[in-house]
């Protein structure tokens, strides 16, 4: 398979340090590397630009929309972490955690079935799953609210259930594509050893598809973390409200505390970042999408 090539050792994706180039091709690749590093830094700078205001305003005692040198203060962070705001972050964690757990577990099971098993009308089913992702949530609010209020479900856990349902189509799709790319040899070997479906799922598919499952879980978590309209409508008790709603406590009728908003936003971003750091070990920066709504 690998032809003999008189080339330097292939560059590992981890970017190990390169030896001094021995031939023109390598020298070219070194300056190429310098250019790409430079380009990457430029992109990085562009992406970080909008976040500058967030950081500056969070430390500014007189924060406004403008970007200015801050009058340094920690008061904004203190206000952002006060009593009910801290509670709202905990509520967000509960809401998003439960929602993600439900969506990912149900989604992984369904994705496995859709990928490996013969299902009648699989094609149309997948297409419907896909289209559901595009429905505007604001319109669904009315029938959902009526349903939930009739059932007496206007609280945080049923709200998590509905959030799970809204991310379910996308998660199914994502995980299915990942399972599609896992070769079937191992499953067949396991089946020959008389392993049941549960064992196959846990011991074979699970570990191999984990990057995709992790990615779907993160997607579900992030979506629930940022959702505002649904918790506003479905949660009535004020001490069950998540952070995305608590942020409005800083926007009064007569004044807006920009510094507090910025500080709270930064704090609100920390749990997701931690989640990502944890999970990125699971998918080391990527996952495979092979696409195809095929049978």
């Amino acid at each position: 398979m690998t032809a003999g090539i008189a080339a330097p050792a292939p560059q590992a994706a981890s970017g190990a340090s390169v030896q001094p180039p021995a031939n023109p091709a390598s020298r070219r690749s070194m300056s190429n590397k310098a250019i790409s590093n430079l380009l990457l830094s430029a992109f990085g700078a562009l992406f970080v630009l909008p976040m500058v205001w967030l950081v500056l305003a969070s430390l500014d005692a007189n924060a406004t929309w403008s970007v200015e040198i801050p009058h340094l203060t920690g008061a904004n962070f203190a206000a952002a972490l006060s009593g009910s705001n801290l509670q709202s972050i905990i509520n967000s964690i509960v809401l998003s955690g439960v929602s993600t757990a439900i969506a990912t577990v149900c989604g992984a099971l369904a994705a496995y079935a859709l990928s490996r098993r013969r299902i009648p009308w699989k094609g149309p089913l997948l297409l419907i799953v896909l289209f559901l992702t595009g429905v505007p949530l604001a319109i669904l609010i009315i029938p959902i609210f009526e349903m939930f209020s009739d059932l007496g479900w206007l609280s945080i856990l049923p709200c998590a259930l509905f959030l799970a349902v809204t991310t379910l189509p996308f998660e199914i799709y994502l995980i299915k594509n990942f399972i599609d790319a896992v070769p079937q040899d191992l499953e067949e070997a396991a089946r020959m050893e008389r392993a049941g479906t549960v064992q196959i799922l846990l011991k074979v598919i699970g570990p191999l598809a984990m990057p995709g499952i992790a990615a779907a879980a993160i997607f579900g978590f992030v979506t629930a973390w940022g959702s505002f309209l649904i918790p506003l409508v479905l949660i009535t008790s004020p001490n069950q409200q998540p952070g995305s709603i608590a942020i409005f406590g800083f926007i009064g009728a007569a004044n807006v505390r920009y510094g507090d908003i910025a500080a709270f936003s930064l704090i609100y971003a920390v749990p997701i970042f931690l989640l990502y750091a944890l999970a990125s070990r699971l998918f080391r920066g990527g996952f495979v999408l092979s696409g195809a709504v095929r049978g």
Binding site: T64, W65, I141, I142, P143, F145, E146, M147, S149, D150, L154, L232, V233, T236, P238, Q241, I245, A246, F248, G249, I251, G252, A253, A254, N255, V256
Partner: protein, 467 residues
Amino acid sequence: MAMRRFAAPRLTAVAAVLAAGAIAAACSGSGTTPAASTKEPTGPYTIKIAYGSDYVFDTTGFTTKWWDQVAAEFKKSHPNATVQFIPIPGSYNDIVNKLSLLYRNASTAPDVAEIPTGQIGLWAQADYLLPLNSYLKSSSWWPQFPSVIQSEGRFSGNVYAVNQGENDSALLYNEQMFRKAGIPVPWNPKSWSDIIAAAAKIKAKVPGVTPIWLNAGTGSGANGLLQGINNFIVGTSTPTIYDAKNNKFVVDSPGIRQALSFYQQAYAKGLGADTSALFSPNAVTTPLTEFQSGKLAIAVGSNYYGGNWTKTISAPYWAQAPSTMGEAVIPTYSGTGTASTLGGWDFAVAAHSKVAKAAFDFINIAENEQNSIDAANWAGWVPPDKAYWTAPLYTSFAPPYNAFFADITPSSTLTPSSASYSVWVQGMGEATGAIAQNPNTTVSQAVSILKNYVTSQLGSSQVETVP
């Protein structure tokens, strides 16, 4: 194996039942409709009270303080009651949307709700609200409401809501800047060109400040008009925006043209604020901080400004406000009177509330002198009962603003309470936004923006031109 065979049909049956139930509930509305009660229930009961938690009072803290205060007083005379608050976070739209959802079902409808003035008519028409006429007969405060405030809750002869607090508008200006520009203080403009002239002098003599703040654009919604151009329209000879008799919206009239012309002159001379500030989501409250940081000279502002500059409400507050800021009424176009809009928040009782008498008792307590003035002070309102306007608790809170704005109230004008008003708001927002962004826009162009937009949304049978 047998279990699995049954699983599928059972699942679909459950789903069908749930779905049918949901659709049936939605279609039929509120199910059984018990008659409104006239007596307090004998056993223990719950009374549900909905209000905006972030947007109505000056701060969330004062919101909780006031409602707790009223609830405590209520419980003293109603020991059987459990007060269940439904605080609604977010801003104006979120409050209205959440309340609309709650009202659709008799079991979720709040017994007492704090609703915005502009929505009363709509909700009365939907049969969400209980007529309060019989209860008001025995109230001591109702006759003290000026007639314009009483009329805001009156539809088809019934009173569906009673006011909690009002906002009106006037001109606020920085006296120091005026002196520097050579304009005599106290300022008493007698015409709109007086206002333009003063702003032009500021621009010439006081560099680095925005001469005048005039709300423009679609971002601030109905509030932006209430504290903006509508004040000028209602001060003309054709103040009508909504012709209730014919159910048509006025999209072109001398009054509208005069008001737009005023805007056009101000922006063409470069006297207005820039679009970044005008179109921001919180534009309506920007003048408050701009005045405080000395960046603004004149604003068409509202009565809640004064309270927000006091120590009680804000930290940091602006101690020099009373000595720096002056206030003047907005003259009518002809110069003979005061022009201002009127709008605020009101109490309403759910149409099918099982505890209607108790609900009205709650409102009764909320409208007593102490609670009403506390609400006015903490939310930046004029209390609806005119006997309170001279109470020291009110006038000494944010002198001289409270007293000044109270006096404007009787001559102020309500804004329309019709379903399609928000369409007109969007159209006028586009018109003023066009002027603010491109000062070369002519009055005719602005009017045609308004006319075209409202006509395309409502149809030509619902718009009219006043000659």
